[in-house]
């Protein structure tokens, strides 16, 4: 089974990439655009039970894929 993990910067941390995209899109006429947040998506495939996969995905996200100092993550089964 597969899980997706989305990692993004915490809201209070400046995201220069999102800001650059936002500025450019604003300049291209999307005036109502209020903000852009860039995130990273990982797809993890596991063998074994769903519960085991879920637990491993959480551990991987928490300890490796996201840096708790600056980032948050979400896990979804796909």
């Amino acid at each position: 089974m597969k899980f997706e993990i989305i990692v993004q910067l915490k809201r209070e941390v400046l995201d220069p990439e999102g800001r650059a995209i936002h500025e450019t899109l604003g300049r291209l006429g999307f005036r109502a655009l209020k903000g852009v947040v860039v995130s990273k998506r990982y797809e993890l495939e596991f063998s074994g039970s769903e519960a085991e996969g879920q637990e491993a995905a959480k551990k991987i996200a928490d300890e490796y894929l996201a840096n708790p100092v600056s980032e948050t993550f979400e896990i979804r089964k796909i």
Binding site: L9, E12, V13, L14, P16, E17, A20, Y64, L65, N67, V69, S70
Partner: protein
């Protein structure tokens, strides 16, 4: 040249990761300016040889994949470096080495994409800060000039962590103007409170984004201020 006597000669280990590219500069600095041979340690080693101190050099370890320094922090040799630090072992991390130290949680905070989004390669000035480490006691009040070369050097720490850093006197360097004044104008990457280098609470682990190993000979670009950082590194454990 500062030379050690044969009795007092420290054995310094340098960890090489795939993508390290400032390793040779560190080796050269220690050889020509301090008369020391460096022990090179490849990242796949499971244990650290007997060394007195460790250098984590700059570069782009593991291609900066995942996050700068993140994969290196989980390399086999780093488990042993973490043990070394636990026992009070001294470590200096420069640029990518600093990123590896924060990713390893050996120093607080994180190093994020520069606010300007640009890779910045230029000489900057650093102002040594008052603090509790040997680095601070040797460098506080001094304005040093040396290069930075990074795309992800914006030091970030949350307000609580920042307060702790300041209260415990762990900030060693802030980006400054040539006269030593610290302001937004002299902050190249948007770092929290212009922080360029910090030490651990016990002062044994030190990380900085600028490159002291690239400022050791005036002929190479106008500054040998980096040598003062290396002297502080040696003083931190000798």
């Amino acid at each position: 040249m500062t030379q050690f006597t044969n009795i007092g000669k420290p054995n310094v280990g340098l960890i090489q990761f795939p993508g390290s590219n400032c390793d040779a500069d560190c080796v050269d600095t220690l050889k020509r300016h301090f008369g020391l041979d460096t022990t090179l340690v490849w990242h796949t080693e499971k244990s650290l040889p007997k060394v007195d101190a460790v250098i984590l050099p700059g570069g782009f370890s593991y291609g900066d994949y995942l996050r700068s320094g993140a994969l290196a922090s989980h390399s086999p040799v780093m488990a042993s470096v973490k043990e070394f630090v636990k026992k009070g072992g001294p470590v200096i991390g420069i640029c990518n080495g600093f990123q590896i130290l924060t990713e390893s949680h050996l120093l607080p905070g994180a190093l994020l994409r520069n606010a300007s989004r640009e890779f910045i390669c230029k000489y900057v000035h650093l102002q040594g800060q008052t603090g509790t480490s040997v680095y601070s006691s040797m460098l506080c009040g001094k304005t040093l000039s040396m290069p930075i070369a990074h795309g992800e050097g914006r030091y970030y720490i949350d307000p609580e962590g920042l307060k702790k850093l300041n209260d415990k006197g762990q900030v060693v360097f802030r980006y400054a103007a040539a006269d030593g004044s610290v302001s937004d104008a002299s902050n190249p990457n948007g770092a929290t409170e212009h922080i360029a280098g910090i030490a651990s609470e016990n002062g044994r682990v030190f990380g900085m984004m600028p490159h002291p190993e690239r400022a050791t000979d005036v002929v190479m670009g106008g500054s040998n201020d980096g040598l003062q950082v290396w002297k502080a590194f040696f003083a931190s454990f000798l």
